[in-house]
Amino acid sequence: MTIETSIHPGPAARPATRRRWRIASWAPLIVLVLLCGIITLINPNFLTFGNLVRISQAAMIPLVLGMGATFIILMGSIDLSVEGGLTLSAVILSMLVINGANENAFGLLGVLLVLIVGAGVGFANGVIHVRLKIPSFMVTLGMWFVGVGAANALLGGMAIRINDPLIRGLAIERFLGFPWGVWVALLCLAIALVIQNYTRLGRYIYALGGGEELAALSGIPVGRVRILTFTLAGVFYAVGGVLAAAQLGLGNAQIGTGRLFTTITAVVVGGTALSGGQGSVLQTLVGVLIVVVLSNGMVLMGVPPSVQIGVQGLMIIAAVALSIDRKRMRIVK
């Protein structure tokens, strides 16, 4: 089994659809290159090293969040709890490391605890979704507000300043010109790539997205794979929370606002199909870059930031409309 077939299994294996899909999977990259070209023509400052660093800084959190969301969407599910997991992680982190509100100084152990909290949130999503048989969007919608509510309850309306040099260093200290946070995000990308291509979990996720009944019949432990994937996504959101807290230097309850939207836009614009089974984490990388480059370009052109949510919304609609394989879904709900 080559990697090529493991990436596009299921019904897409029919020659005609496969060719169509192969072209479609390059479309996001072409869009990205065109976008960079156009913005450079309008404002040559786009290609300076300083701007490149700025783009990488803006892309690091969406990339990490996108890794988690990609796996969920590859299964054909959806995760709306991105902001919940991220906010809760960021707030708990701000309370565990050296901060302005209490005497804790757990450092790296604190980060580890936060990742466990993230895994716990994801695990809860997965277990409720699988065992109670509730559609994922409903479970994660609830978890979104539970997460943000819990973060709010922990803070009681305040914001906690982070003074830990280790955490602040992720955003401030640089290696080869890029902040450490960017390298952390790239490490997450590498881990996600390994999970996707070289582990059984990765194969199973594609199999589930391609056709769950077939996957179940071939002996794949469907429920366990789903729970594990939601847990994995929760860990990625927790990493996103750590990076967000480092970037802001604060733990507050609004830290996640708007991130769900960017994440889903990035995954979908990258070409990962909402119906599941088609897409990859590398495509999400392209999607993240499209979203970030576009908003960077809009800033360079002087478009107010509040327009960007609207543009992202239109991008979601356009990308989903273009990528949906209508033959596979007769009823759309």
């Binding site: 699988v130 509730i134 994922s136 979104w144 709010n152 327009v307 960007q308 949906i324």
Partner: protein, 319 residues
Amino acid sequence: MNTLLDTFRNDGMRQWLPLATLILLVILVGAFQPAFLDVNTLLQLASDTAVLFILATGVTFVIMLGGIDLSIQSMASLSSVVVALTLARFGYGAFVFAFALGALAGLLSGIAHVRLRIPSFIATLAMGGVLSSAALVTSRERSITLGESERAYLGWITGTVFGIPNVVIIALIVLVVAHILQSRTPFGRYSAAIGAGEPAAYASGVKVDRQKIFAFVLSASCAALAGIVLVGRLASGSPTLASELLLPSIAAVVVGGTSITGGVGSIWRTLVGALIISVVRIGMTFLGVNIFAQNIVFGVVLVAAVAITIDRSKIPIVK
């Protein structure tokens, strides 16, 4: 035969469960806090529930069809901004304008969902982004407080008739209209049919697409109306005015016993659901639960209610 009887009994129990819960909650809160059962407190409760109920009514139409609308809070906020900005120039026309804008937004979500065949949760999530962006841009990211002269137009929302707040009367009118739409018109019948089984409804000649688009128009129009009522109550409009209302609204529909798989539900259930949410909120405030932490409870209640009401036979693969 036995299983058939069991299902019947279960359904019968399920149908009355929300109302029983509501009565139990009212008695509980009343026992702890006798002032709660005062007429004035109850009227206050009714006016506080009005906005939630109007939002939930709109989204009930969509959920009945088996879809979901995640853009209602953005629509309500946009509508509040539009009213606050245009009230001085258009007078009462501002309300009509905001309402028409809601209908248009619903039409667009509906078309995106039906014609482009995008799942409703993603189409409305995206549309919500577009709407909240529009609200942020037009309001320049600020909340707009209404002047004295503009407040004169708000009498129909803030006033009272025979001691009953007008907001409650507006909500009652919405209830009556929605009930008639649902139980006395072809649209209502078709919605239930589509929710119960879309292929069968399609095969029997129901114009499924048109009914779906209409449901989204209703949902966004109700959201716009909710935004208008919010402007009246707070005398200001803001791009984030209603952003906390999405979860309680959907929770109200589901807690009332309308199933998110579609086909089962009614406006009355949504009314009961909205009242339950309001009473729970008041109960938590009495108990001293942090107002920010209340979302945890609503999130849990939402998931629990879905778990009880969902029809699992309709979704062989839960995604």
